[in-house]
Symmetry: C2
Subunit: 197 residues, 2 copies
DNA sequence: ACCATTCGTTAACACTGTAAAGCACAACCG
DNA sequence: CGGTTGTGCTTTACAGTGTTAACGAATGGT
C-alpha cells in the first residue's frame, strides 16, 4: 500500500518531515523513509548524501517555516515585536517537539558574507530577530549595545525556555506560559531602559 | 589490553562516563563499554536494564557533580549566589559538552514528595538553586514571587545560553562570556527590585 | 561428591547506515 | 530497425547496533 511517485530530494525530505512529526526523530530511519516511498534504501543516495544530509534538508525547511511565522507578526512597537518573536519561537517549539529537537543538530552559521535570499534559512531567521532588536534600540526602548549580542542572548534564553518546557518536568501545564513569560519579560525588562518605578 | 575487574553497576557507569567524555555520546555503544571492561555485551544486562538505564546512571552521577560544584560556591549576598550558580552551570556545560548534552535526555522529576538525601540528584540540584532564589527574595534583592517559577526561569535561560554556546555558531570565542553575561545579568536585573537610576 | 547458584559466554534475531555490483528500461544514433 | 549509452532502481553484502535465549564453567554449601 505504498504509492510510488517520481523520486526527488524534495519528495524524500517531505516524507522524512512527516515521519518525524508522526513517529518522532529517533524512530525515523533511512530505510523506513525509502519504504514509505515504495523504494529501497540505496535509491535515496542519488538525491541525498547520507542520512544526516536528509535531516539537514528537513531542518532547512523548518527554519523556513519559522521565518515565515516571524514575518506574519504584527506589532505596535519594535520592543513588542521582539517579545512576540520570542513567543512565536516557543509556540513553534511546542507545536512539533520532534522537529524542534532536530533543528539544532546542525550548527547554523551566522557569518553573513553573501547577500540576498540564498542565505540559509536559519541565518535569515536570526537576522530577522536581530533587526527587531536593532529597531528597538534605535527606538530608545532597549538600551544601546551590540544588536547581535543582544539578539543572540534573547534567542538563547528563549531556546532554553522552550527546551525546559519540552522536557516535561512534571510541573503541570499551567506553568508553561508562566515560565516563558518570566524568562522573556524579565529579560526584556532587564535589557530595557529603566522606566523609574 | 583490557583489565578485567569485578563487574558492577558502578563500574559500568564509570566506564561509560569516561568513554562519553573521550569519544562523544554518539560513539558510545553498549558493546563498546562491555569490550572496554573485558566482557561481552550481554553480561552488562545483569546490572543494567538497558542502554538507556546505563546512560541514566551516568546522568545521575553528573547531577551529583553539578550539585557539588554548587555547594562550593562562596557568595557575599544571596543575589550574588544566584548569579554564581548560573555561571557554574555554564562552566560545567562547557567543560564536558558530551555530558551536558546527555543529562537532559531524561526528564528530571521535580515533584518533591519524599524528604532527605534519597531524592534524585537532579532534584536536589534544582532545590539548591531554588533555595538561593528564595533567600534573595527574603533578602529583598529579588522581587517577591514564586521561587519555583523564578528559579526554573533562571535555569531555563542559563541552559539555553549554554546550549547556544556549545552549538558553535562560528561566532568567535570572545562572544562566549559576553552572551552568558548578557543573558544572566539582564535576567537578574529584570527580576530585581529597581534601584532607581 | 553432588547439587545449586552465580556470572559470564556463544549464538541468534531484527534492526541500522552505507557501498558495490547488476539489471531493466528509455533515449539516442546509425 | 539494431545497437549503444546512460539513467534509476534493485539485489546483495558488510559492519555495526541493542537485546534475548540457551548454554557452560566455576564456585560455595551440605
Amino acid at each position: 500500500m505504498v504509492e510510488r511517485v517520481q523520486l526527488s530530494r524534495e519528495i524524500i525530505i517531505a516524507r522524512a518531515h512527516t515521519m518525524i512529526v508522526e513517529q518522532g526523530l529517533d524512530a525515523v530511519s533511512l530505510r523506513g523513509v525509502a519504504a514509505a516511498l515504495g523504494v529501497t534504501a540505496p535509491a535515496l543516495y542519488a538525491y541525498v548524501d547520507d542520512k544526516l544530509d536528509m535531516l539537514r534538508g528537513v531542518a532547512e525547511s523548518e527554519f523556513e517555516r519559522l521565518l515565515a511565522s516571524f514575518e506574519t507578526i504584527q506589532a505596535d512597537s519594535p520592543l513588542e515585536r521582539v517579545r512576540l518573536q520570542a513567543h512565536a519561537y516557543v509556540q513553534y517549539a511546542l507545536a512539533d517537539p520532534a522537529l524542534f529537537q532536530m533543528i539544532f543538530l546542525f550548527r547554523p552559521n551566522f557569518e553573513v558574507h553573501s547577500e540576498g535570499d540564498d542565505l540559509p534559512a536559519a541565518t535569515r531567521a536570526y537576522l530577522t530577530g536581530a533587526q527587531a532588536v536593532e529597531a528597538a534600540m534605535a527606538d530608545g526602548s532597549l538600551r544601546p549595545g551590540d544588536p547581535m549580542l543582544v539578539s543572540l542572548a534573547l534567542w538563547a534564553a528563549t531556546h532554553g525556555a522552550a527546551s525546559m518546557l519540552l522536557a516535561q518536568l512534571n510541573l503541570g501545564p499551567e506553568y508553561e506560559s508562566q515560565i516563558l513569560a518570566t524568562v522573556i519579560d524579565n529579560l526584556v525588562r532587564g535589557l530595557s531602559v529603566p522606566l523609574d518605578s
